[in-house]
């Protein structure tokens, strides 16, 4: 369970203070699929970094499964990032000149798995995202959609409770984007993973059950999505 209490993040830009987050309050329960929406500069990426333990709030509390994150040291934070959270980035962030298999093995290495177990698990999750036949390909030999699937497989490697995706379809064409949303939905329903998507695209957001809108660092709305798009529904119909 994720609890955000008055989360505030202030960046110092020269003389001016930038309030990237300004007192955000919400709770996300285990197994929810949530979209965080907002225009660029609204603070949604900052929120994502804090939820992913990549950054700490200036003030306020972030409680993850009952533990206040600001009390954790570097090693404990690394452990949370490695085991409890899986990240998917807009730009994939795969290691260049490194095979899909080895990219997926990376979090498993830091989790301390032995070589054999690592390979088996990496093959398993690559199969889960439909890339069984691409394990030895380097990122530059894969399409954008395939690269993002490798990144999702990497995020899934340690079977995290939470999947955090920052504009996961942002760098992809809409058809590939839809395919990915299908994958997120099936991960959510089949594995029961908490999925949090950050996006500025309402079509993408409507693939989730709950949409939190953020603007200027403040939460402006937080409501159940009554127009859930089941993956595969053509986009054209929706916009009509």
């Amino acid at each position: 369970m994720i609890q955000a209490e008055d989360l505030t993040k202030i960046y110092q830009m020269g003389d001016t203070e930038v309030r990237a987050l300004d007192g955000a309050n919400f709770t996300i329960n285990r197994g929810e699929m949530v979209a965080i929406m907002g225009p660029s500069g609204s603070g949604k990426s900052t929120l994502m970094s804090i939820l992913g333990c990549l950054d700490v709030p200036t003030s306020g509390k972030y409680i993850l499964d009952g533990v206040a994150v600001e009390n954790l040291d570097d090693t404990e934070l690394a452990q949370i990032r490695g085991q409890k959270i899986g990240f998917v980035f807009q730009q994939f962030n795969l290691l260049a000149r490194t095979s899909a298999l080895e990219n997926v093995m990376l979090p498993l290495t830091y989790a301390g798995l032995s070589g054999r177990a690592r390979q088996d698990r990496a093959r398993e999750v690559l199969g889960r995202v439909g890339l069984s036949d691409r394990t030895q390909h380097a990122p530059n030999e894969l399409s954008g959609g395939q690269q993002q699937r490798v990144a999702i497989a990497r995020a899934l490697a340690n079977d995290p409770a939470i999947l955090l995706a920052d504009e996961p379809t942002g760098a992809l064409d809409s058809k590939t984007g839809v395919e990915l949303m299908e994958l997120f939905q099936s991960l959510h329903t089949e594995n029961g993973q908490t999925v949090i998507l950050v996006t500025h695209d309402s079509y993408v957001a409507r693939h989730t059950n709950r949409i939190i809108r953020i603007s200027d660092g403040r939460i402006v709305s937080d409501e159940v999505n009554h127009h859930l798009i089941k993956a595969g529904t053509p986009r054209m119909e929706e916009t009509l």
Partner: protein, 413 residues
């Protein structure tokens, strides 16, 4: 996470930039190779000097005229009387010293013009006794050495050093030939085997009976105050342990015969081979340390080169570091990864450098120019130094990498 994992990551990173890796380790390679080669050459020089000196008999005491610590400049401008050692001193020592002595000889020495047919040049002529051969452990190539009979009869015979024989006679056999020394004819009765060039090598000298020298050749040059002088008295001591006590006895006896007051300094020297050895080795040791220090500086420069490249590498791979942190790498794991990368670089450079250094030293040794001795500790030292440089210059870039903020690193463009 295991170190072998980190090692694999490091190797992958180094392979990804082969040219850069090679250029980076070149500094360490050159530094280590220089250290190994210079230490080998230094050790070689020391060893060959030691061997040369010991080949002259390691239990040898040399008594020679001259005030102690007269220095190279003749005592810093103070006028000092020339001092002499007399044949009478030798006789007194030969009579008075018996314990622990295996042989004792007196030597007179001067330079004269030597002639055989068209060849002529100046060379050192030594007036010696029959035991000189044993004392200096000389071996004969041809013929015989100066005998007791030669001395008694003041015979006009000469034994040639190896180089002299070659210069005068070339490929001819010198035995039985007559050469002239300062215009006096001498018959060649023996030729010595070569002992290798060193200071005061017998190769470049001629040996005649000491009595012949006094009566027929040296004349006034070997007389002072109406007494026969000698240049050196060589004393061969039976055991190394007895050297100090024999030296002390000689000092005491010669001091008394020279009628020196207690407060007066000695007007002669008693030097053992070990004294000469320690003086010379201290010189070569200083040189070795000096050369080693210069090589060490090049190693240091190599280390700075590694640090520079590692800093560039950390900057280039900022995003990768951010990602590694995002998927669960701890600060320590990132630190170790980069440290291992630097240490791998420097150790790789160290190993190549050691091989290259051994190659250079062996090449010098084989060419016969400079002797070289490669020892395990010089290799160990060079290796440890390379490793230490890797750790030292790797720490800063590794800390930079480890301390990157995961968020900022991931967003880095």
């Amino acid at each position: 996470m295991l170190y072998s994992e980190n090692f694999k990551i490091a190797l992958r990173a180094l392979r990804a930039n082969k040219m850069r890796t090679i250029l980076t380790i070149l500094g360490i390679v050159i530094g280590v190779a220089t250290v190994v080669a210079l230490l080998a050459i230094g050790k070689g020089a020391t060893a060959s000097i030691t061997q040369e000196i010991q080949s002259g008999g390691s239990n040898l005491l040399t008594v020679s005229a001259g005030r102690q610590q007269a220095g190279f400049g003749g005592g810093g401008g103070q006028s000092r009387e020339a001092s002499y050692l007399y044949y009478a001193d030798y006789q007194m020592l030969a009579r008075g010293l018996t314990d622990n002595i295996s042989a004792m000889v007196a030597v007179v020495q001067s330079s004269y013009l030597i002639k055989f047919e068209a060849e002529s040049f100046s060379a050192n002529v030594l007036g010696v006794m029959e035991d000189y051969q044993e004392v200096r452990s000389l071996t004969l190539e041809h013929g015989k050495f100066i005998t007791e009979g030669d001395n008694k009869s003041q015979a006009l015979v000469v034994v040639l050093g190896d180089q002299i024989a070659r210069d005068l006679f070339g490929s001819l056999s010198p035995l039985g030939k007559m050469i002239s020394i300062k215009g006096i004819k001498f018959e060649v009765v023996g030729v010595l085997e070569s002992k290798g060039s060193s200071m005061d090598s017998p190769d470049d000298a001629l040996f005649i009976p000491i009595e012949t020298a006094y009566s027929k050749l040296f004349g006034e040059t070997a007389i002072h105050d109406g007494k026969k002088t000698v240049n050196d008295i060589l004393v061969s001591v039976t055991t190394t342990e007895a050297m100090d006590s024999v030296a002390a006895q000689i000092e005491f006896m010669v001091r008394r015969s020279h009628k020196l007051a207690v407060s007066e300094e000695l007007d002669f020297n008693v030097l053992s081979q070990t004294d000469i050895l320690s003086t010379l080795t201290s010189v070569t040791d200083t040189l070795t340390i000096f050369l080693g220090a210069i090589a060490g500086i090049s190693l240091l420069v190599g280390g700075i080169g590694i640090m520079n490249i590692m800093l560039v590498s950390v900057t280039e791979r900022t995003k990768e570091i951010g990602l590694r942190k995002a998927v669960g790498a701890t600060r320590n794991q990132i630190l170790t990864q980069f440290l291992i990368e630097t240490v791998t670089l420097s150790v790789l450079g160290g190993i190549i450098g050691i091989l290259l250094g051994i190659g250079i030293a062996s090449a010098f040794a084989l060419s016969g120019l400079i002797p070289s001795v490669i020892t395990a500790d010089s290799i160990l030292m060079a290796f440890t130094f390379a490793l230490a440089i890797g750790v030292f210059f790797g720490l800063y870039p590794a800390f930079r990498a480890a301390n990157l903020h995961p968020m900022v690193a991931l967003r880095y463009e």
